[in-house]
């Protein structure tokens, strides 16, 4: 696809958790698998600017949710909304100023925290505290300059555990962890560029060494539009490698929707009204399992006609989805499992006769489409109301909306784009003056930049520039440095992170949960000859899948222990046999003899182990 001619525009918002301790209390930034006390609360919409409460909104909130908060052993009254916030965490403020400095941003002269009203229960107070730290910076990605519009420091929300009926359970461990929120300008024009920008900002954040690491500690929101389309926000992407996929899929989706719009306009389609027909009697003896099941559970089959929509619901000739999945996701928001539409029927056990009967019941013309939903009457009606609204919006083009990312690179509708946030000052928190002295000391103590780290890795560890570059982008640069520094074997360590990890990921085991201790065990055992480096992927897989220790994994896998004695024996024998050759060539004989040893041991032993022993034997002979 030629993204530039499509007018693709992508902006990213990155949320990174800090490891500095919580933002407004002295609790640690840790997660807990269990909880002790529970607190049950409700949140209520507050008065508007004019001092009134919208009665409808109030009823909505009453009918709806109450929230169960699980405290963890290290929760305090601040997280429980039972004590005013403490002073803002100084180290978190410094981390955000440091990050601002790395992106050439202008910090505010005084930081003022705000309360952003959020009543989905994810914050015990009903608002999230957030402050603007700096504005107007940029980063370079290749030769492209990408604008950074704002950097904010905010508190993370409570962790959602489960939602049951009208009750949502949250755990308080995540609530209050500081988050740096970085928003770029919509300057990215290709899916790859979006990934590079996310990588670059991620590397800069890690460079500060004040960020949390691991799954869920960094989340990306993507704002995507093509020309003629609309701003769509994909909220909470966690995997870097999927970013270009999300962008590409969203561009395709918008183009498909623009195509639908063109067709509908050409046909002169007008908004359809919500004219629901109960067509259950037509399906009394249907072979369609879904419909039959719904009728047996006392549900009804309701249908509506969408005028002039025929052919816009099913996929295009080249398999790109069109309106069908959009309508289905709106139906799911209303609580029904799915729908059938005329572009996919007959099918799923629905016969041609049933389709024709439905068409005549709905007085559908050939250019018209229809949608049917089978469920309890109220739910089905609510679903159809949403479906008609969504279909009518298709005549206008691409609706602005928020979508949830799926692990396969697709996204699904979640809700309309939120309106403007309601924010008012958090008067319980003291403003923080950012004076020259603070900024000066931050500038003097800026961390090593990613590119500086790349050159240092090349020099210190003898890996290639490409390897060093990939390591820094991968997010494993700190682990690499620690392990290569402590155990040598820089190449082995680099290959684990750059080759083995992606392979494991492809095979469906997630290597990012491996602890540093496991990696240390691997290298210790490798060095002691417990296995050859070729066995590492299998051992890591076993550790990940079975929860084994490295020793246990080695044992159960039956990985052959390197028999150092037999290596020595082979080396000794060959050195004796080729004594003359060695005396002639001196130390240069190592290579050829090495080949012979390897051949005899048939790759069972790591070359490094062999070369060490062999080198020693040759030296002995020569002296």
């Amino acid at each position: 696809m030629d993204y530039r001619s499509l007018g693709l525009k992508v902006g990213i918002e990155i949320h990174q958790q800090l490891s500095t301790g919580k933002l407004f209390c002295d609790c640690p930034c840790d997660f807990s698998d269990d909880h002790h006390k529970e607190i049950v609360r409700r949140l209520r919409p507050t008065q508007s600017e004019l001092g009134e409460i919208d009665r409808a909104a109030l009823e909505e909130s009453e009918r709806k949710m109450h929230f169960r908060y699980q405290t963890v052993p290290f929760s305090c009254l601040v997280e429980a909304d039972e004590e005013p916030p403490h002073d803002a965490n100084k180290r978190a403020i410094e981390a955000s100023l440091e990050m601002s400095s790395l992106m050439g941003m202008k910090a505010v002269d005084e930081v003022h925290f705000m309360r952003k009203i959020v009543i989905d229960g994810s914050n015990t107070g009903g608002f999230q505290r957030t402050a603007l730290i700096s504005t107007g910076g940029s980063i370079m990605v290749g030769d492209r300059k990408i604008g950074i519009s704002t950097l904010c420091l905010e508190e993370d929300a409570a962790r959602k555990i489960v939602e049951r009926g009208s009750e949502v359970t949250y755990r308080l461990d995540r609530l209050g962890i500081p988050l740096i929120e970085i928003a770029t300008d919509p300057d990215m024009a290709t899916p790859e560029e979006a990934k590079y920008v996310a990588e670059r900002i991620g590397a800069l954040l890690r460079a500060t060494k004040k960020v949390r690491r691991g799954i869920g500690t960094i989340r990306e929101d993507l704002n995507i539009s093509v020309s003629g389309g609309a701003r769509v926000e994909i909220k909470g992407a966690q995997e870097l490698r999927l970013i270009p996929v999300y962008v590409e899929e969203e561009a395709k989706r918008q183009i498909a929707l623009l195509d639908v719009k063109r067709i509908l306009r050409e046909r002169g389609a007008k908004s359809s009204s919500l004219d629901i027909k109960d067509i259950s009697p037509l399906f009394r003896v249907t072979k369609c399992k879904v419909l039959k099941g719904a009728l047996e559970e006392k549900g009804r089959i309701l249908a509506i006609r969408l005028r002039k929509f025929a052919g816009t619901l099913g996929p295009s000739e080249n398999g790109v989805n069109r309106l069908g999945p959009e309508l289905a996701s709106h139906a799911r928001v209303a609580g029904v499992k799915g729908l059938f539409h005329s572009d996919e029927l007959p099918g799923y056990g629905v016969t041609m006769t049933e389709v024709e009967d439905t068409q005549s019941a709905l007085e559908a013309e050939p250019e018209d489409a229809f949608v049917m939903v089978a469920d309890a009457v109220e739910k089905a009606m609510a679903a159809l109301a949403r479906i008609v609204d969504r279909a009518n919006a298709a005549i206008e083009g691409v609706p602005e909306e928020t979508r949830d990312p799926l692990p396969d690179g697709h996204t699904v509708y979640s809700r309309p784009l939120p309106g403007k946030d309601r924010m008012y000052p958090e008067t319980d928190v003291k403003p923080i003056l950012v004076n020259e002295a603070v900024l000066e000391s931050i500038k003097l103590n800026l961390p090593e930049l990613p590119e500086e780290k790349v050159s240092r890795f090349v020099k210190e560890f003898g890996i290639s520039k490409e390897q060093a570059d990939s390591l820094v982008k991968s997010g494993y640069e700190d682990e690499f440095e620690l392990l290569a520094g402590g155990f040598g074997s820089a190449q082995v360590v680099a290959r684990i992170y750059l080759n083995t990890f992606p392979e494991l990921e492809k095979a469906g085991v997630n290597p990012s949960s491996l602890s540093l201790d496991v990696m240390k065990d691997i290298l210790t055992n490798l060095k002691a000859g417990a296995f050859a480096k070729e066995a590492i992927p299998d051992i890591l897989t076993s550790v990940l899948q079975n929860g084994h220790s490295v020793e246990r994994a080695t044992e159960t896998l039956g990985v052959e222990k390197v028999d150092l004695d037999s290596v020595r024996a082979v080396c000794d024998r060959l050195v004796r046999e080729k004594e003359k050759f060695i005396r002639d060539r001196g130390e240069e004989s190592l290579g050829p003899i090495m080949g012979l040893v390897m051949k005899e041991l048939r790759g069972k032993v790591d070359g490094k182990v062999i070369s060490e022993i062999l080198r020693e034997r040759i030296k002995q002979l020569l002296t």
Partner: protein, 429 residues
């Protein structure tokens, strides 16, 4: 909340008012936003603007900076609201005194101000109107730490008037810090109650979606409408969850936590009632509604003091205060003790005709001056033990008793008579 120094001058010169959209230039930086109030802890050289993205930022001004008004704050149009009256529902009265429960945030400027009208207060909890007709009045608009004895008198009069003119109960929104003092004062001043008088507070302000104000107000309304209670109580959350509220006897209740929703506790007694949704469950004995009319005994003599004894308390300090008052309530250690040195002060004070009463700073349990010699010496000196009465309640009661009579013996009699449930004789294990 006001800007001072250079910033104040520049804003004055530009005639910029809070809420105006202003433009601030410093060097080649230009910022446009709504002028926000000065935070008490904001630096003097900083002006705070609310930016179009909703965030506030502080901008340092210097001599060369320029400020100009872009547009004036649009005056808010507040609809005058009239409280409805449904003849099928009972009347309750809401007499507001101020505090967190009755404060409002101006979301545009972030400034917190007290409720201007009781209507405003009631319409912020429109659910009240489903349960009762509400007669609302803002009597005071003060933080509870600024309450004085004269405020208690005015409040007692207003409450009596409402009950004697048909209200089935009175709700008193009150700051929580001294709510226990006010409830005790009302309990002594108002007798023969025809309905409950309920002091209600909030530990989280009502601008927050998590405020406890609404649930407390609703429960108070239910207690007014659906119970036979004829006492002064404090009603607040029973636990940290928004599950139930507790009504505590006005003379036996104390704020026991600086910030939690369930800060109020009944001391040396059980709460009177537990209110959970529409359910009212009476936990301990209570006085029912009288046939009326409500008697008002609002005379009070404020010349009393409450002295908390501690190691190192100097006799000079005690004497100094005792010389200026007619009565002293001592919060003694343990069973009610003071040091030998203070014992001397007590003797001197009693000799001068000062009433000296003794309570325990332990709060839980009762004073007993028979067990140790210090206690016996205190009684000999003329100090009078007050059983398990809370020090704060004793202080309020002493002022009230001194307002009722000048006869020291009559004061003593009143102090030792259980008038509003301030004594309990049995403290359950």
């Amino acid at each position: 909340m006001k800007y001072s120094g250079l910033v104040g001058e520049m804003l004055d010169r530009a005639n910029a008012q809070l809420g105006d959209v202003i433009e601030v230039r410093r060097g080649n930086e230009v910022h446009v936003g709504i002028l926000m109030p000065h935070h008490d802890f904001s630096s003097e050289s900083i002006v705070t603007l609310k930016l179009p993205n909703g965030y506030n930022m502080g901008i340092r001004l210097d001599e060369k900076s320029k400020v100009k008004v872009e547009s004036r704050r649009e005056p808010k149009e507040r609809k005058k609201q009239v409280l409805p009256h449904d003849p099928a529902k009972k009347d309750i009265a809401v007499i507001s005194t101020g505090g967190t429960i009755a404060s409002y945030v101006d979301y545009r400027t972030g400034a917190v101000h007290p409720a201007i009208s009781a209507e405003e207060l009631v319409f912020s909890v429109p659910e009240l109107l489903d349960l009762a007709n509400v007669r609302a009045k803002v009597l005071y608009s003060i933080l509870s730490e600024n309450m004085k004895v004269t405020h208690w008198q005015g409040l007692a009069r207003a409450v009596a008037e409402e009950l004697n003119s048909g209200a089935v109960g009175v709700i008193v929104p009150h700051g929580t810090d001294t709510m226990g003092f006010t409830s005790a004062a009302l309990a002594f001043m108002l007798r023969n109650l025809t309905g409950p008088v309920i002091c209600v507070g909030a530990q989280r302000s009502s601008d927050r979606p998590s405020s406890d104000a609404i649930m407390n107000l609703l429960a108070a309304t239910r207690l007014c409408v659906d119970s036979d209670l004829g006492e002064v109580v404090v009603l607040m959350h029973g636990e940290s969850s928004d599950s139930y509220t507790l009504a505590h006897r006005g003379t036996k209740v104390r704020k026991m936590h600086a910030s939690r929703r369930d800060a109020f506790r009944s001391i040396n007694s059980e709460p009177i009632a537990k209110i959970e949704g529409p359910q009212i469950e009476f936990i301990s004995e209570h006085t029912g509604r009288s046939k009326g009319p409500v008697e008002l005994k609002d005379k009070i003599d404020g010349r009393a003091s409450m002295l908390h004894f501690y190691p190192g308390f100097e006799a000079d300090h005690f004497d100094l205060i005792a010389n200026h008052v007619k009565g002293v309530v001592i919060a003694g250690t343990g069973l009610g003790h003071v040091s030998e040195e203070i014992l001397g002060s007590v003797t001197r004070a009693v000799d001068k005709g000062v009433h000296v009463y003794v309570t325990t700073q332990c709060l839980y349990g009762a004073v007993n001056l028979n067990v140790y010699s210090t206690g016996r010496d205190m009684v000999t000196a003329g100090a009078i033990p007050l059983g398990d009465m809370l020090p704060e309640t004793a202080y309020v009661k002493l002022m009230w008793a001194m307002g009722q009579t000048d006869d020291p013996e009559e004061v003593r009699k009143l102090m030792l008579t259980n008038i509003a449930g301030e004594f309990t004789t049995r403290r359950f294990v």
